[in-house]
């Protein structure tokens, strides 16, 4: 009899436990993803950088959507490797679930990111793909595709068959190299008229553009891979009154480039979607934490904006980040 009572007691306890479990999981099932901490390390948190503010906005939207906690860090200067290293150390020490970083391509940064991976923190690399021993999840603009879009634009809009010259920043720049590759892919075999490196100097760009314009046979289009290149080239075109005759295509957006696009000095802009990059960076980190299947590399598409399309609802949102 004693044994039997024990059995009944056990059965009842089990029923109670089962009920509790059912209730508990019904209620708490929805709570997934919350309470996760994600640190986003931008190249800069400077409010003047529309691009990185866009990334930040996207990251915030993703964190809100998934109910995760978000912390956004970043140096004031985009090229400040020391500051980025210090911030990465800090982020690692705070022990988040995931770090989403737009890294500066530097050996020390790569080594530190390796340590972050080893510490069991989910790592997602944005913007600049890195070569690492354990390849992290990458979310970046499809720069080669952007180059291809620019090349195709030049092909279709140039008056007759003409050569395309490229004004790039540095030889070692990964992003610029990708863009250049894309441009070459889209062009006719003899359409490429060489690349000139102008660094970050608008002055140099202006001079090099002048040289390009003076060439024979004339250059039909100029690809400006960064902002100073576009500004310098636009100035050179204006001075030689060849605005519109020689196509000028720029990458990325800024208020100065927008003005150039508006007044016709610039024929097209290949624009990234920073908001999407930030959003997908954080979302992919969270998906990874939930052990969900996802591609190792995610590319953010770029779009071609011309004077006619710049005030469409979609493009306005891209070109004029809302502050």
């Amino acid at each position: 009899m004693r044994v039997q009572r024990f059995t009944i007691g056990l059965a009842l306890a089990l029923i109670a436990a089962a009920m509790f479990a059912v209730f508990y999981f019904n209620l708490y099932r929805v709570g997934q993803g919350s309470g996760r901490t994600v640190v986003v390390l931008l190249k800069t948190t400077n409010v003047r950088s529309d691009f990185w503010q866009g990334v930040k906005g996207g990251a915030a939207a993703a964190a809100k959507e998934a109910g995760a906690k978000l912390e956004v860090l970043g140096p004031l200067q985009e090229t400040d490797t020391e500051a980025q290293l210090a911030l990465l150390e800090e982020a690692m020490a705070s022990g988040p679930d995931a770090i989403v970083v737009a890294p500066i391509n530097d050996d020390r940064v790569v080594r530190l990111l390796g340590r972050i991976q080893a510490a069991g923190i989910e790592l997602v690399v944005m913007d600049t793909p890195l070569r690492m021993a354990r390849q992290p999840i990458t979310v970046s603009g499809n720069h080669r595709e952007a180059g291809r879009q620019a090349g195709e634009f030049a092909e279709t809009h140039a008056a007759g068959p003409s050569k395309v010259a490229v004004l790039s920043d540095y030889e070692g720049s990964g992003v610029s190299a990708e863009r250049e590759k894309g441009i070459k892919e889209a062009l006719a075999p003899d359409g490429y008229a060489g690349t000139t490196y102008i660094g970050d100097s608008e002055e140099r760009a202006y001079e090099k553009a002048k040289e390009l314009l003076a060439r024979k046979p004339p250059v039909g289009a100029i690809m400006a891979l960064n902002e100073p290149a576009a500004l310098g080239a636009a100035k050179a075109l204006k001075e030689s009154n060849r605005t519109g005759a020689v196509r000028l295509i720029a990458f990325d957006s800024s208020i100065f480039l927008i003005k150039l696009l508006e007044d016709g000095s610039l024929d097209a802009m290949i624009v990234q979607r920073p908001f999407n990059m930030g959003y997908l960076g954080v979302i992919n980190a969270l998906r990874r934490l939930d052990r969900r299947e996802l591609d190792r590399e995610t590319y953010i598409d770029t779009i071609v904006v011309t004077k006619d399309s710049m005030y469409s609802p979609e493009n306005q949102k891209l070109l004029f980040p809302f502050k």
Binding site: M1, Q4, R5, T7, I8, G9, A11, L12, I15, A16, M19, F20, F23, Y24, L27, Y28, V30, G31, S34, G54, G57, G58, A61, K64, E65, G67, I255, I258, K259, E262, D263, G264, R273, F275, N276, Y279, L280, D301, Y311, P313, E314, Q316, K317, L318, L319, F320, F322
Partner: protein, 611 residues
């Protein structure tokens, strides 16, 4: 239809009332708690949902009111401009303002716009464009963007088409002023001439989109909830994830919102989770939509978790209570059961204590009555049985074996013929004493002395009959003589010893009869050196009252039973016998001194019979 009928067998075969009660209680409690908590949960979820819906509707209303007030304000400004004479004159195609007089007009209009702008932080700019090419803004010096053609602007075209009615644009970047790219919502309207028929120009008020943005983004609809606005064509006015929507990373239920009437709400459930859409339409066609996620609404998890903990605690406590309660309830029953078991073993002296006046108390009382009845009946039966046996015995005793009498009388006759007078006298007197002893009926217990006398007489007669066969010895301790014994206790054994042991023995046999004290009892021994018995014979003696012994007098088994009946089970007869050696009968009875006259008054057993 044939169905095999099988007796119902419960899942747990419960063998005690306590576990049955406990099980029943527990089931009841569990079902009750489960039901109430389920219903409670459903109710509270429903309540939370309703509250949240009401709350969202309220919030949306607030947003609506605010946006409406901004728009009303712009409307008012436009009315002000419309009715302003300076503005009218300035843009009229009639050239009654000379080019020289333009400056003061411009200044006055600009001052007016500026003063409005000062009071309203939400307004980005106020401008008026005449079809005559003139324009004034709130700024002293206005340079128009040379690359932005007025005719291309949506607000300009729409106002012209609306013909005097105000038009609200979707949010856009206002680029008419050089070097300014501000996100605004524009209200524009065509201004009529003094005659009210011909149109003279377009009036424009820009509302900072920041205002709407801050309004919408500042609204808290839970962790994931948000507010968005669409215009009448379904274009997004504001959405926190507008860019994701444009690049198709997310989708929004625009079509459903377009279809939904103002003040209604609908639910959506897809990969993004279950959520509610509350829609409110403004007077100028925008739809303000609040989106709240269900898991946010029912996000009071900790409280619900606590409730569940409490529920589990309550279940545990009530289970405990049910066990205790069932234990208490079934305790009297178990007590009763214990008493019954004692009765089952034969103890009729138990009394169940009646503690409660409920059914179990009644049961206990009835039980007590029943046990008492049984006890009475039992003692009655014992009495009758005893009386019966006694009368039987007395009858037996009364009729001393007639053969014995005939034989004895034959012997007397024979002795008289032989003229052996002395022997005749002795034998006759012995016979007389023998008879007298068996005639005294009233007393069952007699002194050992009397019994000794009786057996002596009997042996005297027998010895005279079997002169050359029988010898006897009587060895009684003196102390024994003053105790009591049953009447005619020894005679049957002596009789047996003679008839079965000695009579058929070729040579002379001896019977020794001894009486002695042993500890707290008196022991009689009847020993003979006769033929003795085989073991089977010995066993047969034990069988109640039948067989050859019975026919020859009083059965040995009966004697044994008599002793036990009188003195208790620890007394009685023991027989040892060996073939060709002899038989020893040992009789044990308690010491009952003569002085104590106990036995005279009672015929009932002195020692109670134990079961």
């Amino acid at each position: 239809m044939f169905m095999e009928s099988r007796p119902f067998r419960p899942l747990f075969p419960l063998k005690s009332i306590q576990s049955s009660i406990a099980f029943a209680f527990s089931c009841l409690i569990l079902i009750a708690i489960a039901a109430t908590s389920l219903i409670g949960y459903r109710l509270s979820v429903a309540a939370v949902e309703n509250n949240s819906k009401a709350y969202i509707a309220e919030v949306i209303n607030q947003v609506n009111t605010n946006i409406q007030s901004y728009v009303d304000n712009m409307e008012n400004i436009s009315l002000l401009a419309m009715t302003n004479k300076d503005v009218k004159y300035y843009i009229s195609s009639n050239s009654f303002i000379g080019s020289g007089e333009r400056r003061p007009y411009e200044k006055r209009i600009s001052d007016l716009f500026q003063s409005i702008l000062y009071t309203r932080k939400d307004i980005a700019s106020i401008m008026v464009f005449g079809y005559n090419g003139r324009f004034v803004s709130d700024r002293r010096i206005t340079t128009l963007n040379p690359n932005a053609r007025l005719e291309d602007q949506a607000w300009y075209r729409n106002a012209k088409r609306a013909g005097g009615k105000s038009v609200i644009s979707a949010p856009h970047v206002q680029n008419v002023i050089q070097n300014e790219y501000r996100w605004v919502v524009s209200l524009s309207r065509e201004l009529k001439n003094v005659d009210g028929l011909t149109a003279d120009g377009i009036f424009l008020v820009d509302l900072n989109l920041n205002v709407i943005n801050d309004l919408c983004s500042g609204i808290d609809l839970g962790r994931k909830g948000y507010v968005f606005i669409v215009d009448e064509d379904g274009n997004l006015v504001y959405h926190p994830q507008q860019q994701l929507l444009y690049s198709n990373l997310r989708s929004e239920k625009i079509e459903e919102v377009k279809r939904a009437a103002s003040g209604t709400s609908f639910a959506a459930d897809d990969a993004e989770g279950k959520r509610f859409y509350s829609v409110k339409e403004t007077s100028f066609g925008w739809k303000i939509v609040g989106v709240a996620y269900e898991d946010d609404l029912i996000g009071y998890k900790s409280t619900l978790g606590n409730t569940i903990l409490i529920t589990v605690g309550a279940v545990a406590v009530s289970l405990l209570v049910s066990v205790v309660l069932s234990h208490r309830l079934s305790r009297p029953i178990r007590n009763l059961q214990k008493k019954m078991r004692m009765v089952e073993k034969g103890n009729f002296d138990v009394q169940a204590e009646v503690m409660q006046m409920n059914e179990i108390g009644q049961l206990a009382r009835t039980f007590n009555m029943m046990v008492g009845q049984i006890k009475n009946l039992m003692s009655e039966i014992i009495d009758t049985q005893e009386n019966k046996r006694k009368s039987e015995l007395q009858a037996l005793q009364a009729q001393i074996n007639p053969h014995f009498l005939y034989n004895t009388l034959d012997s007397i006759v024979w002795m008289a013929e032989q003229k052996r007078h002395e022997e005749v006298v002795r034998m006759t007197s012995a016979l007389a004493k023998l008879f007298r002893a068996s005639i005294t009926k009233d007393q069952e217990l007699i002194p050992v002395r009397v019994e000794l006398e009786h057996i002596r007489n009997y042996l005297l007669i027998q010895q005279m009959r079997y002169r050359d066969k029988l010898d006897y010895r009587l060895e009684f301790e003196d102390s024994v003589l003053n105790y009591k014994t049953l009447k005619i206790l020894l005679q049957p054994f002596v009789e047996n010893a003679i008839y079965h042991g000695i009579r058929n023995k070729p040579d002379i046999g001896t019977i020794a009869i001894r009486g002695m004290e042993k500890d707290d009892r008196i022991v009689f021994e009847i020993e003979d050196d006769g033929l003795g018995m085989t073991e089977e014979q010995l066993e047969r003696i034990g069988e109640a009252g039948d067989g050859e012994f019975r026919s020859k007098g009083i059965g040995i088994a009966n004697v044994d039973e008599r002793i036990r009946l009188y003195f208790g089970p620890s007394y009685g007869i023991k027989i040892q016998s060996e073939l060709a050696v002899g038989t020893l009968v040992t009789i044990a009875i308690p010491k009952l001194p003569l002085e104590a006259e106990v036995c005279k008054t009672t015929t009932a057993p002195i020692v109670p019979i134990e079961g």
